[in-house]
């Protein structure tokens, strides 16, 4: 479709401005060294053009409301509509971050209550709601680990990260100045305890662990893992990307974690927004509270304010976090209540195991175990027909589904050509059955008519963009 620039017509107008009855002209006020008297070459379109443009663009997208979106470790659950409306209340969206605190007591109370709920759900002692995404939370968490050891006068330089971890874990650790040491997974898809013992030492800050991990498997030996880390004085970091499996069942604190980050845009239902905004709230146990970034919300009697922890790592963004996202997450928690949260994890786990059971015959699972909220299958048996896992994913689009996460997690020899399916609690048995049926059909197509897969998708607006060309000859802006 055309770019908005290609719809531009000289002199066309899409705006209305209040009457400008001020004296003078802009050149009276802006010095010559800075003023550009020529307007920048932006499009000229009407409001109708803009509305049709975005409506058309929207039809080229696929969202959770369009159908099944089983991206593994992304938790693409339903985004409740009432929460969108609540977050757009006038006195939430029109609050200026620097207005005096007496003007925004409602906002602060809401943040305070959300923090209390997150503390209860995880067992942590204090939360910062500042980080804007999971990776931002990881940076905060790893900087806290760094400062904790520096403060003791014994800085540590290494960070342990399992080979199954999200790429953000090693990237965040590197940003926080750590040397990354990879820990192997074993044959049952968990952290290899022997490898962990060998690599943990007194120059290692700790371990960043996702539990259930990205293979959708609970770390059975989590208590031993915590012991190994803690006995060398290390800290255990919980990547909350997969918390959707554990609500009301296990809390990270009891499992021995010192720091957690929660993706409110995953477990807590706030929309992914085509790639954010999210919130990566970070919770810590008592011994790390002093290192949290500032400002933290606090309550003095009945008045809410902000405070700065005494050994704070500092600021990690402007103002107080993604406030409207916090509103949506809290609305979701209140809607669910304690029983509802438990129901969520139960439903997510049953849904994932149902898919695993029905599909592992055709898409061999690397592990002979029950999974938690997501399952990992592989497309490796179709290589002999010249079909790649990518082809299977693309073919799913023709059946009206968003593909699962593919090629991740990847750790040889157990997890290759992976297909990671996370159905979430939002999906009905009918939807899962339809997906399962499509996957089985595709497995037959792979054997009998592989061309169908290799050229898929056939029914989408575009098919198989040339990504090599995009990288080799980068065109990053439109030029007439």
């Amino acid at each position: 479709m055309k770019l908005i620039y290609e719809k531009s017509v000289e002199g066309r107008v899409g705006y209305s401005l209040p009457k400008d009855d001020f004296e003078g002209s802009i050149s009276d006020f802006i010095p010559e060294y800075a003023l550009d008297t020529q307007p920048k070459e932006l499009p000229e379109v009407s409001e109708v053009d803009v509305v049709r443009h975005f409506t058309k663009l929207s039809k080229l997208n696929y969202g959770v409301d369009d159908g099944f979106y089983p991206l593994g470790s992304c938790t693409m659950k339903y985004n409740p509509k009432v929460n969108e409306i609540i977050a757009s209340f006038d006195n939430f969206v029109n609050a200026h971050p620097l207005s005096s605190l007496e003007f925004v007591q409602g906002n602060l109370e809401l943040m305070y209550e959300l923090e209390e709920s997150l503390k209860e759900i995880t067992g942590m002692d204090r939360f910062t709601l500042l980080p804007s995404a999971g990776a931002h939370g990881e940076l905060v968490g790893t900087l806290i680990m760094r400062k904790y050891f520096e403060d003791m006068g014994k800085p540590r330089h290494k960070m342990l990260i399992p080979d199954s971890a999200h790429g953000t874990n090693p990237a965040s650790s590197a940003m926080a100045g750590f040397q990354v040491v990879e820990v192997k997974s074993n044959e049952v898809g968990n952290v290899d305890l022997n490898d962990l013992v060998q690599k943990m030492d007194e120059d290692t800050a700790g371990l960043m662990l996702t539990n259930p991990n990205t293979a959708g498997l609970f770390e059975r030996e989590i208590q031993k893992i915590a012991e190994v880390i803690h006995s060398s004085g290390g800290l255990l970091y919980y990547d909350g990307a997969n918390l959707n499996a554990l609500l009301g069942i296990v809390r990270p604190s009891e499992a021995g974690f010192d720091i957690v980050h929660l993706n409110l845009h995953k477990t807590f239902s706030t929309p992914h927004g085509s790639g954010g905004p999210g919130v990566g709230a970070v919770g810590v146990k008592k011994h790390l509270v002093d290192f949290l970034p500032y400002p933290l919300v606090c309550k003095c009697k009945d008045y809410f304010g902000f405070e700065e922890p005494i050994k704070t790592i500092g600021k990690v963004r402007a103002f107080f976090g993604n406030f409207t996202v916090l509103v949506k997450a809290y609305a979701w928690i209140l809607t669910m209540g304690a029983d509802g949260l438990k129901e969520v994890s139960k439903a997510a786990i049953i849904n994932a195991n149902y898919i695993l059971k029905k599909l592992k015959g055709d898409f061999r699972s690397p592990y002979d175990r029950f999974c938690m909220h997501e399952c990992v299958l592989t497309g490796r048996d179709y290589k002999e027909f010249g079909v790649k896992t990518l082809d299977i994913a693309k073919r799913l689009m023709d059946y009206g589904f968003h593909p699962p996460t593919i090629y991740f997690p990847h750790f040889e020899p157990y997890a290759e050509e992976t297909i990671m399916v996370e159905p979430t609690e939002s999906e009905s048995k009918e939807t899962l059955d339809a997906f399962i049926e499509a996957m089985i059909k595709i497995s037959e197509e792979a054997k009998t008519s592989s061309e169908l897969l290799k050229e898929a998708p056939h029914n989408t607006y575009i098919s198989r963009p040339d990504e090599v060309k995009a990288t080799k000859e980068p065109i990053l802006t439109y030029k007439e």
């Binding site: 066309r12 107008v13 899409g14 705006y15 802009i26 006020f29 800075a34 550009d36 932006l42 000229e44 975005f54 080229l60 997208n61 992304c74 006038d90 029109n94 200026h96 971050p97 620097l98 007591q105 409602g106 109370e109 709920s117 790429g167 953000t168 090693p170 990237a171 650790s173 940003m175 926080a176 059975r220 208590q223 069942i249 296990v250 992914h272 927004g273 085509s274 790639g275 970034p293 600021k315 103002f319 406030f323 609305a331 809607t335 209540g337 304690a338 129901e343 139960k346 049953i350 195991n353 029950f370 689009m397 609690e425 048995k429 963009p465 995009a470 990288t471 990053l476 802006t477 439109y478």
Partner: protein
């Protein structure tokens, strides 16, 4: 539960199909001594009606802020958001989609990112643009790290008139590198070029300057760039009020090397400080050092033009600890608002909107000075300015609130010695008669 479609009966059927007799069997991997014995102690469940009323009641604990027009800016600007933008943002295809990993199902997102890259390119002059990073404070910190990587040097000079929260964010992000950070003093509400000249040396990696600066002042970027480049140092320009780009010379043409911006002014509500939208822009020569998601044009297998995330070898999911940043989820939803805002205002509208901001703010400043209650040095500014006053804080507050205006920022909280100074921001939400009322109540 209305968000969980399966019935108990269906779950029973599914468990049977899985081959277990109970849910407990499925979670046998979780050691029993770790399991929660009691229910979580949290509020709820609330029905939708109860939920709605609960949040209405919390909202009411705020002052009725939507009735007040703020004279506050400082990186958070009250511009009017055309209603049509709200209807665009409400499209589920935009807000319920994921990061565009599957281009066949996300051309709407990818084309929007490409269009916003083009808008920012035309506003700044740069060809390489990262359209969405959390906010400009974190984007500026990322840009600083990029400058350290590009120069292999470790000294950072920061203008004292960079937003104080941005300065603190840079310090947090760069701390593991233990850089030498020096603050460049200001003089007459602008960066002191003499001080910069004294601080610059060949060990410096980057000079970070906000323009318009924290006082709204318009810096002489060309002179700053010339001086900076003499020492082979990079110039990072931070723009908190991106509307200014509509009427100011493109930063690239003035010698800026990297630009970090806050696009909140383009169609994003105040939101009590977030979510906003940071962005970065630079020369193509530096593109492979940029953090975050970038979209490029290509063709599909049938030769049709389309868009994909590109230059991905910089990113965490591919390069892990060797990535340029850990950025994954950004603030993409805001890009639809920004794209719609810039498209609606367009070439002439954005210029006129900026012009209105310039004229209205100068009108207020002149009016306040004429009352005799306010004084200040002349300096070039965009839509924010500093004045000193003989009025006390309580009086200002009381009088402005009486006409539904939020008072300006008291600078003593940020700058030592500026005891009676206030920073005013004026946008198009103020009409001439609104401003006259302000002058009237403060001039009494």
């Amino acid at each position: 539960m209305r968000y969980i479609p399966n019935t108990d009966k269906q779950f029973e059927e599914m468990l049977k199909e899985i081959g277990v007799s109970s849910f407990e069997e499925l979670i046998q991997d979780i050691p029993s001594d770790l399991r929660l014995k009691e229910n979580l102690n949290i509020k709820g469940p609330l029905s939708e009606l109860e939920l709605f009323e609960y949040f209405k009641q919390i909202e009411a604990k705020n002052k009725d802020v939507s009735k007040f027009k703020p004279l506050l800016g400082c990186g958070s600007y009250k511009h009017y958001v055309p209603q049509v933008i709200k209807t665009i943002l409400a499209r589920e295809e935009f807000y319920t989609a994921y990061t565009p990993y599957q281009p066949e199902l996300s051309q709407g997102t990818l084309q929007t990112m490409f269009e916003v890259q083009t808008h920012f390119s035309r506003l700044t002059g740069f060809d390489a643009v990262v359209p969405s990073i959390y906010d400009a404070a974190s984007a500026t910190a990322e840009a600083t790290l990029m400058a350290l990587r590009l120069t292999h040097k470790n000294k950072i000079l920061i203008s004292s008139l960079l937003h104080p929260e941005y300065i603190d964010t840079i310090k947090t992000y760069t701390e593991p590198h233990k850089p030498e950070i020096k603050i460049i003093p200001h003089k007459d509400y602008l960066l002191s070029i003499d001080a910069l000249s004294e601080l610059l040396d060949d060990e410096t990696a980057v000079v970070i300057v906000q323009n318009p600066n924290f006082f709204g002042g318009i810096e002489d970027l060309r002179s700053i760039a010339d001086l900076t480049h003499k020492h082979n140092v990079l110039l990072l320009d931070v723009v908190t009020e991106s509307l200014s780009l509509a009427v100011l010379k493109q930063p690239k043409t003035l010698g800026v090397d990297i630009l970090s911006g806050e696009a909140q002014s383009f169609g994003i509500d105040l939101n009590f400080g977030g979510p906003y939208n940071g962005f970065l822009a630079t020369n193509m020569a530096f593109v492979r050092q940029l953090p975050g998601r970038i979209v490029g044009e290509t063709v599909d297998r049938n030769g049709k033009r389309c868009f994909v995330m590109t230059l991905r070898a910089r990113e965490q999911d591919i390069k892990r600890e060797k990535a340029t940043s850990n950025l994954c989820t950004s603030h993409n939803l805001n890009l639809y608002a920004i794209n719609a805002f810039i498209s609606l205002y367009g070439k002439n509208g954005l210029f006129k909107l900026a012009e209105y901001n310039v004229k209205a703010s100068h009108n207020l400043r002149d009016g306040l000075i004429k009352t005799g209650k306010f004084q200040g040095e002349n300096y070039p500014f965009f839509n924010e300015f500093v004045l000193d006053t003989t009025l006390d804080e309580e009086t200002i507050k009381e009088r402005l609130l009486s006409i539904n205006v939020l008072p300006p920022l008291k600078l003593s909280n940020y700058f030592e010695g500026m005891i009676n100074s206030y920073l005013f921001a004026v946008t198009e939400v103020f009409s001439k008669s609104d401003l006259n009322k302000i002058i009237d109540v403060l001039g009494r």
